[in-house]
Symmetry: C2
DNA sequence: CTGAAAGCGCTTACAG
DNA sequence: CTGAAAGCGCTTACAG
């Protein structure tokens, strides 16, 4: 009953020595091989717990030339959409016995390059990346090397040879715009985001398509860009009302921007959902908690996370397969923020996914 | 100009062979040793980029018996407080050239055990853990082994020998309660969270202390537990109004619970901040975006993340040092949710950290 | 200034 | 059913 050595990490060889067997045998026990005598197995297993042995998977992986990790590099972890996505990645990774290496670029291409280089040295089986704004091919190719599969999530990179997974931004923004049109709006803005990001360009495209299909010419002054944060959006609200006529509704780049816009509207004494209709994008948990609750597009980030893992591991198995680009469907979640009661009644029947939430409604104010 | 081999990963030995030097020399170049002739260095460096060599840090770490990773295991990544903390951990890790292994327990002790065991096998220099609710010593000791430093964040574990870092929950809840008392409230509830979590117990303690210091006996019916999620809190709101007299204010377990309570109140036609005062905990980004904005306690999760990295790495250097328990200060951020205009004017002067945000105030309703 | 050799902790045919 | 040996990709005294 000698207590195990304090400092030095106990190795497989220590266990072997203590049991009077070879390291090979201990390794077989660890691997659950049936070719080990039951008695031997028991002795080894007992010794393993007695000494508090912990397997060195790094050494094993080196020998076996395999990897049991996947790297995830995000632009901003405090974006709830991204956090949900990361949770989905984690779920899928755990299920296949892999571990996640996490890095964050903080939306800086420089940091992204450094983080990627550092993570790749740890030999992940693949890298999943939400590119920082303004990322180009040359920011990625050297950093990620020639042999590590890379999957881009949510933002495409011009001319990149990499797999891509993203939500159907075009269709989503189109649905949002059509929804507002159906409410009777004709002066609809597109609010927030930067055109450097592909997801913003795609959403803008869906917005434009829907307007044009309705015979409405998009008004450039009603397309206002801003950083996709709440505060920037609140500030940028002014641009919407700089000249008459002002829009009566806005398709926003994402939920965060929508919340900022709501703040900005209130500051001008305009009640969101009553005087001005808004749609978001992402369906963050906060969306349904806002008052009025935010009409938005659900993208299922958790499912996307699982899908990303599948895609990047598949790429590792078949390097020669053609580049894959997967566009995941989104769906509209109608809530109060887009129902502007001051508008002309819409021509189509108003469809509601939920009944008004509370007895204290806006009815006693209007 | 033969193109590099496609499949096989290029190794240091490949570079050495191509340059006609030994692996030792290449290793020295990589390490930036001054003992390499400038000409040799240049040749090697050129070959490294030509072949797209990527350093195998795992192999190097094995040989050098060091680790360049730290594991972070969180209970719930979609909690913004936790996400911010993770971002802080990431920042600090990048600064010291370490990489982050991320796992999530999803608040399940079982999964936590599995995740810890899996991560520890990858040999992190330390583990930072936000324990799942109900975690005991025996859930941690075997999983984490004898040699990996463990730092508990935000929730203590009974009788555990591990370092701890957390916000000053007792003082925070005391400040929140005193703030409500100063507004003239006497019927103050404590709302949300589970007593299994040490942070909840501590906040409850601060609440109790403040009440007793004011000569008020805590009313057990006004201490209502619920899972720390928005929806659970909305549902649990009923318990607050089950019997007369009902409380007029609540100190909540955290911001998420506070938002849920706001929803629950509105469903009962009670206006938060006007008919009922609320304080939160954490100062999540959402807190200032709510209407009314949430009075809450700022804990600085990002700074805590950096501090956690420092502590866990320090523990790795000095295994013999005594157990450290660090309590980080918090501060009250006063906003509208705790200013109930229906109350008797407070006896102390009302102090505001911010002026009312908008011209459209509640003044035109009151 | 450069190379040969040993070794980090594991695995895996191959013998016996 | 078990062991000896080689080797994964790197580093590091030690010679020269």
């Amino acid at each position: 009953m000698t207590p195990p050595e304090p400092r030095r990490r106990v190795t497989l060889a220590d266990i072997a020595r203590a049991c009077g067997v070879s390291p090979a045998t201990v390794s077989l026990v660890l691997g659950g091989s049936a070719a080990v005598a039951a008695a031997t197995r028991r002795r080894v297993e007992a010794e393993i717990v007695r000494q508090g042995y912990v397997y060195n998977r790094g050494a094993a992986n080196l020998r076996r030339k395999i990897s049991t990790s996947v790297a995830l590099v995000v632009n901003d972890l405090s974006n709830p959409f991204v956090a949900e996505f990361a949770a989905g990645v984690d779920e899928a990774l755990t299920a296949v016995g892999c571990v996640m290496l996490l890095g964050s670029s903080g939306e800086s291409v420089e940091r992204q390059r450094a983080v990627l280089a550092s993570l790749v040295e740890h030999g992940p089986a693949g890298v999943i990346l939400t590119p920082a704004e303004g990322t180009g091919v040359d920011d990625l190719r050297p950093a990620v090397g020639l042999h590590t599969p890379l999957l881009l999530f949510n933002r495409e990179v011009q001319d990149g040879p990499w797999d891509y997974l993203g939500a159907d931004n075009v269709a989503g923004a189109r649905m949002a715009t059509e929804h507002l049109l159906a409410q009777g709006h004709t002066r609809i803005a597109f609010f927030g985001g930067h055109r450097e990001s592909s997801s913003c360009r795609q959403r803008l495209q869906g917005y434009t398509e829907a307007l044009e299909a309705a015979g409405i010419e998009p008004e450039p002054r009603w397309i206002v860009e801003c950083a996709p944060t709440r505060m920037q959006a609140a500030t940028a609200t002014a641009a919407l009302f700089a000249r008459d006529p002002a829009p009566t509704a806005a398709v926003t780049y994402n939920d965060g921007v929508a919340f900022g816009l709501m703040m900005g509207l209130r500051a001008r004494n305009i009640a969101p959902g009553r005087d001005f209709a808004i749609t978001g994008f992402d369906d963050t948990p906060e969306a349904c908690a806002q008052v009025p609750a935010l009409t938005t597009l659900a993208t299922g980030p958790r499912v996307l996370g699982r899908q990303a893992v599948e895609m990047v591991l598949a790429r590792g198995r078949e390097t020669d397969a053609p580049r894959r680009s997967t566009i995941a469907p989104v769906h509209l979640v109608e809530r109060d923020s887009s129902l502007t009661y001051a508008q002309t009644p819409p021509t189509t029947t108003r469809r509601r996914t939920r009944t008004p939430p509370s007895p204290s409604g806006r009815s006693d104010r209007g």
